[in-house]
Symmetry: C2
Subunit: 208 residues, 2 copies
DNA sequence: CTTAACTTGTGAATTCATTCACAAGCCTAG
DNA sequence: CTAGGCTTGTGAATGAATTCACAAGTTAAG
């Protein structure tokens, strides 16, 4: 897997996989780059270029085998296995995520949520136990979660992140509206609603 | 405001504004592009280039006036006014957003949430009324919301979006894990957690 | 077997975004 | 007033991502 693949490429692969699954469930056998492109709001050349980074699995004149390409994309994206996830911060957003079915559906298993608030500790979020953040290190050592989802207030996010990084977790999904600093071998993805909203505000304001 | 500004640029402006507000609250008067860059995980040249699209408001040798630049960024991003927001879908994610303080703080006023579920209609989400989706068109005509946040299941998202677009709303923040089609004069931003997670999965899988 | 209609895979061309590098401006100290 | 230290603003250079365009396969029909 020599080359460095751009983030935007990976996001598109993820989108293609979603369409393929839709096609798969409707029993279609093959799909062309053009069809895939239209669904994904891009161009057929883009689709082919994206796929070409990983090999060539289409048939000229015919297109791509839907199940084969779907399988190949799952493999590339690392979705062939189960990933263990912990949620840090059992507030409203944490709770909403805990019940989000998309996680389980794609092989992301939520082990637990952590919080410092005594009233929340010991309770349940849609079947997911809320544990004391104090036992984070011990639990990680035992359960080996792969991914930590941060849903803590912005002013605590960096401190919590540092702590999570120290446990050895290498992938973080951050919902705090803060730019976080992490070592190079740790991947942090930030979902920043404030930023998206401001993007909309900008678009509404600057129309020609 | 002649030029077309890239999406990534707008996102960075939004990030700069956040740091500036932090600086502002600590009473600092000026800031250099280098300081701004370090906070935002970018380079000083990038910061200056981003700002230069909108004019030149720094002082050579000194840097930027914090309050002045913050004000200018708010103006560029259209944050000088209040934007009215409606939430469509009063499920867990809708509820989490309804209580999210970041909205109000940045001038986004949530008017109401809409749902089709009779048990939810008439209730309250953190003080925000849940109304019948059937009255959407009537309410929009009266209240003129600027932005609609979609937190409906993926398979309904396109249908709901079409309906929202027909009411004349021009900006949509979509939380459904679906690629949506909208006319060119409507801005749709999608927050896709599944995609971010798969990005993490990819990163964990493809390490050298 | 031949032709026509498709569709892939991929170098080359183009467009877009980031980084470099430096003249020009501003401030402070002496 | 001058010199030295900073920092901006911006063309030019570089780098990255996207689009073009076409040879090379594949299929189906005649």
């Amino acid at each position: 897997m020599a080359k460095r693949i751009a983030d935007s490429t990976v996001r598109r692969l993820s989108a293609y996989l979603r369409f393929l699954e839709d096609f798969e469930s409707r029993g279609l056998e093959t799909i062309s780059s053009e069809e895939l492109a239209q669904r994904g709001g891009t161009t057929s050349a883009q689709v082919r270029k994206d796929l070409s980074f990983f090999g060539s699995f289409g048939k000229r004149g015919l297109g791509y085998s839907v199940p084969e390409l779907a399988g190949r994309l799952r493999e590339i994206l690392g979705l062939g296995r189960e990933w263990k996830v912990i949620i840090i911060g059992a507030g409203k957003i944490g709770a909403a995520l805990a019940q989000y079915r998309g996680f389980r559906q794609r092989g992301f298993l939520i082990l637990a949520a952590y919080d410092a608030n005594e009233e929340k500790i010991g309770r349940n979020l849609e079947g997911i136990p809320v544990r004391d953040i104090a036992q984070l290190e011990r639990d990680v050592k035992q359960d080996h979660p792969d991914i930590a989802v941060l849903t803590v207030p912005g002013d605590e996010a960096q401190k919590v992140l540092d702590r999570v990084v120290k446990t050895g977790i290498k992938a973080i999904l951050n919902f705090a509206p803060t730019q976080l600093q992490a070592p190079a071998d740790v991947t942090v993805k930030t979902v920043n609603m404030a930023m998206e909203l401001e993007g909309l505000s900008y678009a509404l304001t600057n129309r020609e």
